[in-house]
Symmetry: C2
Subunit: 251 residues, 2 copies
């Protein structure tokens, strides 16, 4: 669940400024989310990254998953919908976070006007109370973008599916319908060549002092690089950074 913490940092450390244009729109987006639950029997989660709240709307599939949904909507003081996450198989949970990380990196290569024109789609295995497994199509939309480019609102949609043939994750450009397989998204330029070099040394267990000697640079420079690496990979320590870098095929 380390990637979750990294995503957390990435989301919550954004500068939301004082522009509250989106707060006004929050109610519209809450209605849209409730529409997905009502029309598609989906579970829809609207997360407000500024207020650190999530609004969860339970369509008919929640009962199929054996969720205890006395109310049709629940508000939680977190951007993570733990109740839903508990149903996702641990392996898919790890993958889900990693893919969202890739998606954010992808989105950041676009202009902020285009953020909302892409969504991430993947298929997850969810496990109900009786330990039955269900396939769920999961889509992530960044719907509330602040003028400075901060992502204010994220909409996660869960739909039961029985499509076992196409479980590959992809990013979709919704204006054109074009699909970009997630594995093709190149994260290679996420960190610089020198940072990759240092990541490899860290992965071999070398200390900053040893790295500085190997590269003939000051230990101060090594530590500056390490800080940048953590920032760029949304990692909270070097071990996490190495793991993410490997998962993204950077080293």
């Amino acid at each position: 669940m380390d990637v979750k913490n990294e995503l957390n940092d990435k989301f919550l450390s954004q500068d939301f400024g004082n522009n509250d244009r989106i707060s006004e729109n929050l109610n519209s987006y809450r209605l849209f989310a409730s529409g997905y639950a009502r029309i598609e029997n989906a579970i829809a989660v609207l997360s407000d990254l500024k207020e650190r709240k999530s609004y969860i709307y339970y369509g008919g599939m929640a009962q199929t998953l054996g969720m205890d949904t006395k109310s049709q909507c629940r508000c939680v003081d977190s951007i993570w919908e733990d109740e839903i996450f508990r149903c996702i198989s641990p392996r898919d949970m790890e993958r889900k976070h990693l893919e969202e990380l890739k998606f954010i990196h992808f989105i950041r290569t676009k202009t902020k006007q285009d953020y909302s024109n892409y969504y991430l789609s993947s298929v997850l295995t969810m496990i109900d109370r009786e330990c039955h497994r269900h396939l769920v199509r999961h889509r992530v939309f960044y719907v509330g973008i602040q003028p400075n480019g901060s992502i204010r609102l994220a909409l996660c949609l869960y739909n039961l599916t029985d499509d076992k043939s196409d479980t590959k994750s992809y990013i979709c450009e919704s204006v054109s319908g074009k699909v970009l397989p997630l594995e093709q998204h190149n994260c290679n330029d996420l960190v610089s060549k020198r940072e990759k070099e240092i990541l490899r040394f860290i992965d071999e267990g070398m200390l900053s002092k040893e790295i500085s000697e190997s590269l003939s640079i000051s230990i101060h420079t090594v530590n500056r690089h390490r800080q940048n690496i953590l920032l760029k990979l949304c990692a909270s320590n070097s071990i996490e950074a190495c793991r993410i870098a490997k998962q993204l095929n950077l080293i």
Copy 2:
């Protein structure tokens, strides 16, 4: 476009009574439709079958299709969105109507509480102003069901897609994610054995008088059967009825 007229009859001849519970909800459904346009860049059409109006919401894909959308929403005095239909290839248009007819027949085998738990999904070819072809995922939801079982509101969603691998039409049960290929839906019991017999005679060009002699029944009985056949197949004349019966593999 004959099937369209039949669908028209099927939809508009329903008894909507005086219960106006759904009118109150119309605004919610209009908001949901606008949400699809905004979040998924879809074109969303909410048709009010009682008032014979459609509310069309144009997401980003409308521009890709070269539609003239100065406003983001348009209201037309028809349950048919001709502007969108003009973009659909004629062959797919015919198929679309036939599939919707099958879908209605399928829905009618369910309890009215379950109507909204199913949707029809198909892939259509749409042609833009420059004659470029685009694949579009089309979904139909019956969202406003009156207490007497009449379908009051239908939501049609159009999403650009580039999924060329899975273009089969299907009915999805959204609560469970279960998919029922449309060709497997058996329309066989739509008309009775005797009605099929009469349909075959009509198809051979026989007149009511000849049919009555062949079957040793009165011409009055033949005409009663013919009326029932037209009603059941939503056809406005015998030629249409024969065509639909063939398309549904009834004769």
